[in-house]
């Protein structure tokens, strides 16, 4: 190939001219044609954040990774699904096994009482983003509530929450199904479907706590249709009052699913579920957001337990619902350490992706958020240091 022949929609002379210009520019950054010099390309610099500030808040006895760092309990059961839905009795047995396996307690009541008391207001953070087909299942949440009640927690001390109140209903978290349980979200509509009150103010604005925020040097302008889902623009993402004021303890209940070559489990469910103005964070700071937001006290010091709904999940097409990639993992994971739980969940999803040839090998970026979260002191990402208690039930 030489630089005098013409082809295609850009001719070779133009290409050489363009490439030469690019080469001049690139050589300024130390990049030249292959075989001539070593590549010295640097990755683009990440926007800065206030993640480090989270580390300045003194840790408490309740701070993540909680009572059982590096420990994960798992229970799997072949009959976890009946009639195309989680079987509540089987799920109850699976959850009981994971709670006992995690704590070593002799009864389910004493296992739960290690984490919550009747005085607590307990927020169950579910993930309803993908609608009724691929959200935290109401069945597992009912089982959790049942065990909490058996352990002395009054129903009116339990709150089911997520960022989007209206999505909770779509996913099956309704008053009819959960009588006596408060169901709430940060982004909300009134009965007429409007996001704003008579003064034109977003209802969501009253739900954010401007004293607690995640700052990142990246912003996005939202049009009027998008803003209700973000609540505010700018470089601040504010924590929801649900976590800063309403609840005293959080039980995090994500669903086992992928996001590209990584997963959206405990850390993602907490991080993106608890703050406003997330649209700007997906593209440049996904891993950082997952690792840094849960390191702030409203989450770090309130999350007592992570229970991954792995009854039915997905291995590709996530975080949205693409039924062609659904799979019945028939498993539940539990742990206080969200990083360790995510690591185990990540391995489950990765194994399925490799089996189905979605990937040939692990992506080098897949575990980035885990490594960052470990650096933030939230738990253990090193598989060698994680103790997994896996029970196969039948």
């Amino acid at each position: 190939m030489n630089c005098s022949s013409d082809h295609d929609h850009i001719n070779r002379r133009d290409f050489c001219r363009t490439a030469a210009a690019a080469g001049v520019a690139m050589s300024l950054f130390g990049i030249t044609q292959a075989g001539q010099t070593q590549q010295t390309e640097q990755p683009p610099k990440k926007p800065s954040t206030n993640g480090e500030q989270a580390l300045a808040y003194p840790r408490t006895g309740a701070s993540l990774p909680g009572k059982y760092p590096g420990r994960v309990a798992q229970a799997s059961h072949d009959k976890a699904i009946a009639n195309n839905a989680p079987d509540p009795a089987v799920v109850d047995a699976m959850l009981t096994r994971t709670m006992l396996g995690l704590t070593g307690a002799s009864s389910i009541k004493s296992a739960w009482q290690e984490f919550v008391t009747p005085e607590d207001i307990i927020g169950l953070k579910v993930n309803p983003v993908a609608g009724k087909l691929l959200s935290t299942s109401p069945e597992i949440v009912q089982v959790i509530i049942g065990q909490l009640e058996q352990s002395g927690i009054p129903r009116d001390h339990i709150v089911i929450w997520d960022r989007r109140e209206f999505e909770l209903g779509d996913a099956g978290f309704t008053e009819e199904r959960f009588p006596g349980i408060r169901i709430t979200g940060t982004e909300r509509k009134d009965a007429s479907g409007s996001f704003t009150d008579a003064e034109g103010k977003l209802y969501g604005e009253a739900m954010i706590d401007r004293d607690w925020y995640y700052w990142a040097d990246v912003e996005e302008h939202y049009d009027s249709e998008t803003l209700p889902y973000m609540i505010n623009e700018g470089k601040h993402s504010y924590f929801t009052r649900i976590v800063t004021q309403d609840v005293t303890k959080i039980i995090n209940i994500p669903i086992l699913k992928n996001a590209g070559a990584t997963v959206t489990l405990c850390l993602k469910n907490l991080a993106y579920g608890a703050i406003s103005n997330t649209g700007r964070l997906h593209k440049h700071l996904w891993a950082e957001t997952c690792a840094e937001v849960p390191a702030f006290p409203p989450l770090r010091d309130k999350v007592v337990l992570n229970i991954v709904d792995g009854i039915r999940g997905c291995y590709n097409g996530g975080p949205g619902a693409n039924p062609e990639f659904f799979t019945d993992y028939k498993t539940i994971l539990a742990g206080t350490d969200p990083v360790a739980v995510d690591q185990i969940g990540y391995d489950i999803v990765l194994k399925k992706r490799l089996e189905t040839r979605i990937q040939k090998e692990e992506s080098p970026r897949g575990r980035t958020f885990l490594t960052l979260a470990e650096k933030m002191g939230l738990g253990t990402a090193d598989k060698q240091k994680i103790t997994l208690d896996h029970a196969l039930l039948s």
Partner: protein
């Protein structure tokens, strides 16, 4: 894209033919339970972080309807208007899997038990049911056929490389990507190779039996072509078939200044030969 831009785009093209998915006379006895429309970045209100992938391909608008069939089963019907037929085909190509009913000559189609989907011109459409029952599947098909006929748009033409008879078996497996999120979903093993490249179109198929990947990569910018060539250790000005440096083993050929064909494979001659022959065919 702002709502205004999306509206202007729709008006200028005059093809907003699917603003209502179930017009009068369609799907007798069906009830529309809910209709939602999203344009531009408001898609995040529907699928949150998942919207980024659609935006990367070029999302314009979405109409979603929940439909109750006469027998009581519910369908979710989604019609995504994308910026180009390539964008619609791209999002379709990375969303399909296990297509029991394969691609057809009329449209890019994938039929599964609980979901059917297709790319027709600038539209990516899918219908999801919760049960996989024969009634739900048949109703979904009927509805999708109606939607496709209303778009009146032609099938996205595959690149000539993938129209070769030797690759006919792969027609239903071709994936099209145009950015990092597409690659994460469609060909995650190539994330590193394309890291830093900003404007490109990548068509790729995985060869049967884990034998490798055949791809055609078209760049819009010279610096992206040079960047990838650098990683492969080949000269962008060398128009001969070459083997890239390092692992995995990749045969590479620049067919134009901005077009690179890659055969990543574990095969050796003579099994390798037919693929090398396809790789070397001139573009037409």
């Amino acid at each position: 894209m702002s709502i205004l831009a999306a509206v202007l785009f729709l008006l200028s093209s005059g093809q907003d033919s699917l603003a209502t998915l179930l017009p009068e006379g369609t799907c007798a006895g069906c009830t529309v339970l809910r209709t939602e429309r999203y344009a531009g970045s408001a898609l995040a209100g529907y699928i949150n972080g998942g919207a980024e992938l659609y935006k990367e391909y070029g999302f314009v608008s979405l109409t979603m309807e929940e439909v109750r069939l006469p027998g009581g089963e519910d369908l979710v019907v989604e019609a995504y208007r994308m910026r180009t037929p390539a964008a619609a085909y791209g999002i379709f190509s990375i969303s399909r899997s296990g297509c029991a009913t394969p691609d057809t000559a009329f449209t890019h189609f994938c039929g599964g038990t609980t979901q059917i989907q297709c790319a027709a011109g600038e539209w990516y459409m899918r219908i999801t049911n919760g049960t996989g029952s024969p009634v739900a599947r048949e109703s979904s098909l009927e509805l999708l056929r109606s939607l496709v006929s209303r778009t009146g748009q032609p099938r996205y033409p595959l690149p000539s490389l993938f129209a070769e008879p030797a690759l006919a078996a792969y027609a239903g497996e071709l994936v099209l990507m145009s950015g990092p999120l597409g690659v994460q979903n469609g060909l995650p093993d190539w994330e590193d190779l394309l890291d830093g490249a900003a404007e490109y179109t990548l068509h790729a198929v995985r060869l049967q039996g884990d034998q490798g990947i055949l791809a055609e990569l078209r760049f819009s910018r010279a610096q992206d072509a040079v960047g990838v060539a650098t990683k492969l250790g080949v000269d962008v000005n060398d128009e001969r078939l070459r083997v890239a440096v390092g692992a995995p083993k990749r045969h590479v050929l620049w067919t134009s200044p901005l077009t690179l064909r890659i055969l990543e494979t574990t095969l050796f001659p003579p099994d390798l030969d037919p693929y090398l022959e396809v790789l070397s065919r001139p573009r037409h």
